[in-house]
């Protein structure tokens, strides 16, 4: 055996891949949190099939978890892994296209038998040759299954527990490889399996043996040393997923505005976690209804809004389609509501667990009549907190539905999050009917902002009838008057446009003296910024303008575009934001770069496209 060498790395990408029952998500999450606690920046990307348990050993059931950790600024979960762990040949096959030269590939030799090759659809007994895996890849064969069995031999565990613990052997090995102290990992396991002492003791034993296996055998590979990040602002941090951050943003907004939080939801991948997170916080007075369908998800919520709550609903593309009539009612009744759409691959059921940005036009236009709503999009997992908070603020201060777009990539992925304090967050002032406003009715509004006053049922003196019929501008009574309808349509539009008065300008990142501006929105921010930074580092000029506020657009949008010769809009659809920009901003020739594969951009494909534009 070679002597152990230690290599210093700024950033490393690790991917765990196996059957959907192999525990890859847990392994990946534990390793990510461990790295974050030790001071690394992290960004994670769980990528799993929609089948809960596809046939074992087949490519359809491969589940992966990737983490990017580093001592430098991390924007994305990384493109291709430096270290790949595959639990079977199917996982090898699925990951083959992303295996890069000189990377480390650890595989479970116990699952690399003839029958395993057949299940994964290999034609020969040499999958590495069949997939043309580069010879520069360091193959580390480890009999994970049998070593796990040996580790637990004679301790009285049933076979199922034994087999399910092999992911911990892999985790132990990876901890050794990255010089991670194992006691911290054990601490995580203790929290996770607090109520399952059996499972805990099995996992701890296997984890420890996996770590010692690497340590004792001095596997002939270099270990990785990733130092603490020096680039983060000092303070207290945690690792948070986008969906959890979204839920916490709503909780913070409810307390800041002094309102009860209400969520009407319905289970839908990949948005369910927002509901499941919020339902934990009955201690904070959060009310959650798991409704009978998507429509009831938003309509119970709209009822709660009418009754005076901070109301929200969580969904994904197909659910947003079902909610569109109710969003129209919220537009017409001018009631505050936050609609969270964690986008997935479509159309129809599409690719439920994969990421896309294909709901933008649905969010902007998917309703009958002239029906403007505020549309925003979060950029990173941790960002979801801020934008869920701001979506609530805008809904309550402008009496309007706000659609917040997230996606499977940032919703399920995690990043570092600097813990906020409530007092540091922006104020939220719901637009209540004021005492002293005599004769206020359902359409009475602030003449400057055009925002109507919110009278809460139970308040004496402000009883009113709201509804989906057009109302008279002055009296609030139902009206089919021609000119009144025009005035009301214009008023509702103007009100939403007025939101641009409180949102920040779009900022230029990268080199603002460049001729080419890259434009993106929502969950692609990390990849775009990473690619633009790399191009800048190579000595070329390129700038980035990333949008989180889409309707209305930031006020400086047209000015920013005007500073560049070319504007290239990059998005995970066939060109939805670019078509919106073409309708809103004149005098700019927009180029576009699109991908619709259920996967995020890779930094390398973006760089190569930008380089081709810069030639």
């Amino acid at each position: 055996m070679d002597k152990v060498k230690i290599n210093d790395f700024d950033n490393v990408v690790v991917r765990f891949s196996g059957d959907s029952g192999d525990g890859m998500q847990l392994t990946g999450t534990l390793f990510s949190n461990l790295s974050a606690i030790l001071g690394n920046e992290i960004s994670t990307f769980p990528d799993f099939p929609s089948e809960i348990r596809a046939p074992q050993g087949t490519v359809g059931g491969v589940s992966g978890f990737q983490v990017h950790l580093g001592s430098n600024k991390i924007f994305t979960p990384g493109d291709n892994p430096d270290v790949l762990v595959v639990m079977n040949p199917a996982a090898l096959k699925v990951n083959a296209p992303s295996i890069k030269n000189n990377s480390v590939l650890i595989f479970d030799t116990d699952n690399f038998e003839k029958s395993d090759f057949e299940k994964a659809g290999f034609l020969t007994l040499n999958p590495f040759q069949e997939l043309s895996i580069s010879e520069t890849v360091q193959l580390i064969p480890v009999p994970l299954s049998s070593l796990t069995q040996k580790s637990l031999e004679g301790l009285g565990f049933d076979n199922k527990t034994v087999l399910r613990s092999k992911n911990m052997f892999a985790l132990g090995l990876i901890c050794w490889l990255f010089n991670r102290p194992i006691d911290k990992a054990i601490h995580f396991l203790e929290n996770k399996f607090r109520k399952k002492k059996e499972v805990l003791s099995a996992n701890v034993k296997v984890l420890t043996d996996g770590f010692n296996y690497g340590n004792n055998l001095h596997l002939s590979i270099s270990t990785f040393q990733v130092e603490k990040s020096k680039h983060v602002e000092s303070g207290k941090y945690t690792s948070i997923s986008g969906n959890k951050a979204t839920a916490w943003g709503l909780i913070a907004a409810a307390q800041k505005s002094g309102l009860q939080l209400f969520l009407g939801g319905y289970p839908i991948t990949p948005a369910t976690d927002v509901m499941q997170e919020l339902v934990l916080y009955k201690n904070l007075g959060v009310k959650v209804i798991q409704a009978e369908d998507e429509i009831a998800g938003i309509t119970t919520s709209l009822g709660a809004s009418f009754a005076g709550c901070l109301a929200a609903t969580n969904t994904s593309g197909p659910g947003l389609a079902l909610k569109s009539e109710a969003i129209g009612l919220a537009v017409m009744a001018e009631l505050p509501i936050v609609i969270i759409d964690v986008m997935r691959g479509g159309p129809s059921t599409g690719l439920p667990t994969k990421t896309e940005q294909t709901d933008l036009l649905q969010a902007l236009y998917g309703r009958n009549g002239e029906s403007p709503a505020v549309v925003m999009a979060a950029g990173t997992p941790a960002d979801c907190f801020h934008f869920a908070y701001m979506a609530s603020k805008i809904a309550l201060e402008f009496m309007t539905p706000v659609i917040l777009l997230s996606d499977a990539f940032i919703g399920n992925g995690s990043s570092l999050w600097k813990l906020p304090r409530l007092e540091d967050l922006p104020s939220i002032t719901p637009h209540y009917t004021k005492a002293g406003l005599e004769k206020v009715n359902v359409t009475s509004r602030d003449q400057n902002t055009k925002v109507r006053y919110w009278s809460i049922p139970g308040t004496e003196g402000f009883g009113h009838r709201n509804g989906g019929l057009e109302k008279d501008y002055n009296t609030g009574a139902i009206s089919v008057d021609a000119l009144n309808h025009q005035k009301m349509v214009d008023t509702r539009k103007e009100k939403v446009q007025n939101v641009s008065n409180i949102i920040p300008d779009v900022v230029i990142e990268g080199d603002d003296t460049a001729e080419i501006l890259v434009v993106g929105w929502g969950g692609t921010h990390g990849h775009l910024l990473n690619a633009v930074s790399n191009i800048n580092a190579s000595g070329k000029k390129l700038a980035l303008a990333h949008f989180n506020y889409i309707n209305p657009l930031p006020k400086n949008t047209e000015d920013v575009f005007g500073k560049f010769k070319k504007v290239v809009v990059c998005e995970l659809n066939t060109g939805q934001f670019v078509s919106y920009l073409r309708s809103k901003v004149s005098g700019v020739e927009f180029l576009q770069y699109n991908k619709v594969q259920g996967q995020p951009f890779t930094v390398s494909e973006l760089e190569s496209h930008f380089n081709s534009l810069l030639k």
């Binding site: 949190n33 974050a36 606690i37 001071g39 990040s229 983060v232 000092s234 303070g235 207290k236 941090y237 945690t238 916490w248 909780i251 913070a252 307390q255 209400f262 009407g264 916080y281 009955k282 201690n283 904070l284 007075g285 009310k287 209804i289 409704a291 009978e292 429509i295 009831a296 309509t299 119970t300 709209l302 009822g303 809004s305 009418f306 009754a307 005076g308 709550c309 109301a311 109710a326 129209g328 009612l329 009744a333 813990l419 304090r421 409530l422 009278s455 049922p457 139970g458 308040t459 004496e460 003196g461 402000f462 009883g463 009113h464 009838r465 709201n466 509804g467 989906g468 019929l469 139902i478």
Partner: protein, 338 residues
């Protein structure tokens, strides 16, 4: 719901809006009865929220002085659920019709009943779509000719009671639009019941389905063709008050007191509070002309309401948790200095 000592009259609940239903429509009578009941309940107008969907009857919130929300087709039950759960102190009424409640809104209807949210569902059943000018509804009798069934419907109708019972309803009552006395007593009982109170109001659509309930509504024959059920009272009806209901094996049967040795003591006594709904359902499903149509409160049982159960869970968690604020939540999560 907080009642007060203020004496209200029906007038206190009449809004300034002109009532736009057709002259002779059964909805007028139900509106008047409701306004009387709201006054009798002594709940202040601002503590009442009236939620409706779409259809002729769903215009009702505009005509009542209270908080009202005229929403979208079929979704009234879900919206009313949200209102009640958000603020359980409000007295919440859902106004709906046979199309709104049982066709497009069927799913929300059965689920609000199943959850037993404390709302009062006033279902106007005229067996027709009125506002879209005369198409058959889920309660239209099979074979009936309408604009969308020129050769007669081939559909079997729903019976609202059966749906409410099937969804494990805790309260079901029925009244006829023209019978103000029963209408008011039933609505009052519904408002006082904790849970989803389903009230089927048989109303006449004078334009598109005139006389659908006419054979019941005729004042002269009404006592023979309907029976007004009261908890704890024998099931006696008829002009002469000499007809009654008995159980013959598993079947309800009409008998005449004084004939074949039948005495008043043989007549079934109505038990609206029985958890076992077998007889209540049989009563609700009686059809003429052989049997009288049951009116009044047919089922009224106590079970925990959804909104109260949720409140209680929140109170329990709040009492037992150290996390009281957002900052506490932040402090509780796994964290590290960087």
């Amino acid at each position: 719901m907080e009642t007060t000592n203020i004496q209200y009259t029906a007038k206190d609940f009449k809004s300034d809006q002109y009532v736009r239903w057709c002259p002779g429509c059964g909805d007028h009578a139900v509106l008047n009865s409701l306004q009387k009941v709201l006054a009798d309940l002594a709940i202040p107008p601002h503590q009442t929220a009236i939620i409706s969907g779409i259809g002729c009857s769903s215009r009702l919130p505009y005509y009542v002085t209270s908080y009202g929300f005229h929403t979208i087709h079929g979704r009234g039950a879900a919206i009313a659920t949200g209102v009640k759960v958000a603020n359980p102190k409000l007295s919440v009424w859902q106004i709906t019709g046979d199309g709104d409640c049982l066709a497009i809104g069927g799913n929300h209807f059965i689920h609000s009943v199943r959850r037993n949210v404390d709302i009062n569902v006033l279902l106007f059943n005229n067996q027709i779509y009125g506002l879209t000018k005369g198409q058959f509804s889920p309660t239209t009798k099979k074979g009936f000719v309408t604009k969308s069934s020129p050769f007669g419907t081939v559909e079997r109708p729903f019976r609202p009671a059966e749906l409410a019972f099937g969804a494990r309803g805790t309260f079901f009552a029925r009244f006829l639009d023209v019978d103000l006395k029963v209408a008011q007593s039933v609505m009052l009982a519904a408002a006082k019941h904790k849970g989803t109170s389903v009230i089927e109001s048989l109303v006449n659509c004078i334009i598109f389905n005139n006389g659908a309930h006419g054979w019941l509504a005729e004042k002269e024959n009404r006592p023979d063709r309907t029976i007004v059920l009261e908890h704890g009272k024998p099931m006696i009806f008829g002009k002469e008050r000499n007809k009654g209901l008995v159980l013959d094996g598993m079947t309800l049967k009409v008998v005449t007191i004084g004939e074949d040795g039948v005495t008043e003591s043989d007549i079934l006594v109505h038990d609206a509070h029985a958890q076992d709904s077998t007889i209540q359902l049989k009563l609700a499903m009686m059809e003429g002309p052989e049997m009288p149509i049951a009116m009044g409160v047919i089922r009224e049982v106590q079970e925990e309401t959804y909104d109260a159960a949720m409140e209680q869970q929140i109170l329990n968690e709040q009492a037992n948790s150290k996390i009281k604020t957002f900052d506490d939540l932040i402090a509780s999560c796994e964290q590290w200095e960087m």
